[in-house]
């Protein structure tokens, strides 16, 4: 079985780098990354990842907008998206959850368990459908 493919979107270099190492080394994912929403949309259409880990707060177009565009495009509509957010407020989280994402992960994350959390969300999401 070939490794599952995840697209990681974050404008910050260090977070992208650590998440990549963590997902590859701990979880055995194949990881490609993007540093902006626009780049993410292009790479999602071209690479057809199995899942997308998407930062919420980004300059240019932010996470929720990127997610909306991915949803609007039949080519990327079915790819499960997980938001990565540093927002701790319940109200913010609820608003994000209502967008219809597969799940949410909080920053800062633990590099040793990030992959397990992603897998757990994707499994729950697949069962829910």
């Amino acid at each position: 079985m070939s490794a599952r493919h995840i697209l990681l979107v974050d404008d910050e270099d260090d977070i992208r780098e650590i998440a990549t190492i963590s997902l590859e080394a701990v979880g055995g994912w194949r990881v490609s990354s993007a540093s902006s929403g626009t780049e993410a949309i292009v790479k999602a259409i071209a690479g057809r990842p199995d899942a997308i880990l998407l930062d919420v707060m980004m300059p240019d177009i932010d996470g929720p907008t990127t997610f909306k565009r991915l949803q609007d495009d039949p080519q990327t509509r079915d790819i499960p998206v997980i938001f990565l957010t540093a927002k701790a407020h319940t109200a913010d989280r609820e608003r994000l959850e209502q967008t219809g994402v597969a799940g949410m992960l909080t920053k800062p994350f633990d590099p040793m368990t990030l992959s397990a959390q992603v897998t757990a969300i994707l499994t729950a999401d697949a069962q829910g459908e």
Binding site: D14, I15, V26, D110, P111, M112
Partner: protein
């Protein structure tokens, strides 16, 4: 399914390579992280100068947000928390107010030190991964983010793994995810009253119970008695240094760890050792394994186990040799020894018992059988020890054991700058009681007092039977007033007990008690005992059946506090007088308003007292008029008044308070509540 070897190896590689990579990235990103903290420092400076403009506010908020999202990933969870607090403070339109500047400055300062103090590769092995990964978890519950932050920093310094919760609800959520090893609970939660205390009850009484150290302001209404009643392990004033608080927490955790039964297992087969550790550690046992019998003696002395598990067949020194050696040493004559044998060969079994073993279990080890045998053995060990250290009739500590425990408690109180109260409790007319009802009834009274003491006091408290009819009680973290309150409550329930003796006679019993406080009444056990004993004698002399405080040179008056009860209802008055006298107060009862004024007011009052309990509804002159006269004559300047009001009398209450009453209690009231108010009114 067994894990394939290469998978296991690569898992190990991941365990070390990922943290190493994270460290490397952290070292590279330090400059950028530091620049972000710099923006926050600029922001604080701008607020202080009164000129935080929108663009600086926005970039500070953004940088705080980024720091919150990344520091935890680098093993700096506190850094993330601090940054998040800053982010929230900055999210306010127009930016934080000037008044917030000191708090923000503190947060930024701590954030900077978090970043500076993070290990750099030259100081620390890069393979060590994120720091504080294996320390014990400490949950700090406080709405005061500065204090909580300081406590977390201090905890990190001592290799604990701190977590923060700013509300009782957040604390519960934390505990549900990971049970902490200890909790620091700041009771000044800005939430509904009682929220913190409820949390305390749940944590301390939970399964497993979590040791909780409580922080409270010195003038907080919640007192030590309440905290201890709910299972708190320590009570520290908020003015104490954070170092002090964390030290007390560490001490509490260590004390809990010491209670774990210790096992030493000797077997040359590493697989057996591993299996035993896996089997026994979850049962709360501390298991030390030893594969090399040559190092047996040094390990035995170092660990001083409660139970020794020996393999029968080992090369060089076998279990029998070790067991004989253990039994030959007086220090370990009582140590329980359990053997692991290959098969139930009757000859082996005989050799084992001849060598002095207590029990044996056959290999291959069957989990439940071994666990049962080990638990039986440990139970027996506990029982023997209790017999030696406990008084067989009452179940409380023996004089020898409790003396040693009290000495330890005093040393601990001295170290942590905590009060400690020592009470001597002596049964009243015990010999006459024995003569009248028989010695069996006397024993019954002692036994019952012993079990009531054990039920009412626990944890850190020390209870011992010191002579035929005398008990000593040490309560850590309690002042003399606190101690008196609790002993008085015990007296109230003890006095209600019925004892039956020969010829079907029944009788009740009471005790007298003297209470002293460390350090004000004495610096060591001898002086404290003398002070408490002196108070006990006064309690006896004043008519027994009461609790009296020691009087130290520090106390202004050598007399017990004097309370005047102004109440026309004789039944209620006698109830109050009795409760007050139980607590060592001298009392004076007046049943008429006019008489009260005559006794208490005027230039040279007939009765001078510390506190007046005044009913509003009185014959002669009503309570409010009495109060007015007392105010006019200046009595209220040195005497506090608690007014007893009718239930619906809001106007009465307001008027009483305006006239200068200290407190009010509505009728009908519960006596313990009133006594609590009396205590508060007495503490200056």
């Amino acid at each position: 399914m067994p894990v394939p070897r290469d998978a296991a190896e690569s898992a190990t590689a991941v365990m070390t390579s990922v943290p190493a990579a994270v460290q490397a990235i952290f070292q590279r990103s330090r400059g950028e992280l530091s620049r972000r903290v710099g923006t926050l420092e600029e922001m604080v400076a701008a607020i202080v100068e009164g000129g935080l403009d929108e663009s600086l506010r926005a970039s500070a908020e953004r940088d705080a947000h980024k720091l919150a999202g990344s520091l935890g990933m680098f093993g700096l969870p506190l850094g993330s928390e601090l940054a998040r607090d800053l982010e929230h403070a900055l999210a306010v339109p127009g930016g934080p107010a000037m008044a917030e500047a000191p708090r923000l400055a503190e947060l930024v300062l701590m954030l900077r030190s978090q970043l500076d103090e993070a290990p750099s590769p030259t100081q620390d092995d890069a393979h060590a991964g994120p720091p504080q990964s294996d320390g014990r978890a400490l949950l700090v519950v406080s709405v005061d983010s500065v204090l909580a932050g300081q406590l977390c920093v201090e905890a990190l310094r001592r290799h604990l793994r701190p977590r923060r919760a700013a509300s009782a609800a957040a604390a519960r959520a934390f505990v549900a995810v990971e049970a902490p090893d200890a909790v620091v609970l700041d009771l000044d939660l800005a939430e509904a009253d009682g929220e913190g205390l409820e949390l305390l009850t749940d944590l301390a009484g939970g399964e497993p119970p979590v040791p909780v150290v409580v922080l409270a302001s010195s003038d907080a209404l919640v007192d030590r008695v309440e905290v201890v009643r709910r299972g708190g392990r320590g009570f520290i004033q908020r003015t104490q240094s954070v170092g002090h608080v964390i030290e007390a927490v560490t001490e509490t955790m260590e004390r809990r760890d010491r209670v774990k039964p210790r096992l030493l297992v000797v077997d040359d087969d590493p697989a057996i050792l591993q299996a035993l550790v896996a089997l026994l550690t979850p049962l709360g046992l501390e298991v030390t394994t030893l594969a090399d019998p040559q190092r047996f003696w040094e390990q035995l002395v170092a660990i001083a186990p409660d139970l020794l598990v020996l393999d029968l067949d080992m090369p060089d020194l076998d279990g029998i040799d070790l067991c004989r050696a253990v039994r030959a040493d007086v220090r370990f004559g009582q140590l329980a020894v359990l053997f692991l044998t290959a098969v139930g060969d009757p000859l082996d079994v005989q050799r084992i018992f001849e060598a002095g073993a207590d029990d044996y279990v056959n290999k291959p080890i069957v989990g439940p059988a071994l666990v049962t045998r080990i638990q039986n053995r440990l139970e027996r060990v506990r029982l023997y020890r209790e017999l030696a250290e406990h008084d067989s009739l009452t179940g409380v500590g023996s004089r020898r054991a409790s003396t040693a425990a009290l000495e330890r408690l005093i040393a601990m109180a001295a170290r942590f700058d905590q009060p400690l109260s020592i009470a001597l409790i002596n049964l009243d007319h015990f010999n006459a009681f024995n003569d009248r009802l028989g010695h069996a009834a006397g024993d019954d009274a002692l036994r019952r007092l012993g079990s009531m003491l054990t039920a009412a006091f626990r944890g850190e408290d020390v209870i011992g039977r010191w002579s035929g009819q005398e008990f000593a009680l040490g309560t850590y973290g309690m002042t003399r007033d606190d101690g008196m309150q609790r002993v008085a409550e015990l007296l109230e329930s003890f006095r209600a007990e019925q004892f039956s003796g020969r010829d079907g006679r029944h009788a009740q019993m009471s005790f007298s008690a003297g209470v002293a406080e460390f350090p004000r009444d004495g610096q060591n056990l001898h002086d404290l005992y003398t002070a408490a004993d002196e108070a006990l004698h006064r309690a006896k002399a004043e008519g027994r059946d009461r609790v009296v405080a020691a009087c130290s040179p520090l106390d202004a008056t050598a007399q017990q506090p004097h309370v005047v009860v102004v109440e026309d209802d004789a039944v209620l008055a006698s109830l109050l007088v009795e409760s007050l006298e139980t607590r060592g107060h001298r009392t004076h009862w007046v049943n008429d308003g006019q008489d009260a004024v005559a006794a208490l007011a005027g230039a040279h009052p007939l009765v001078v007292c510390d506190l007046i309990v005044l009913d509003v509804d009185l014959p002669g002159l009503d309570g409010l008029s009495v109060l007015r006269r007392l105010a006019e004559d200046g009595v209220l300047r040195h005497t506090r008044v608690i007014v007893l009001t009718a239930r619906a009398g809001e106007r009465e209450v307001l008027e009483a308070l305006e006239l200068g009453a200290y407190d009010h209690v509505a009728k009908p009231f519960s006596v313990p509540v009133l006594m609590q108010r009396v205590r508060l009114a007495m503490t200056r």
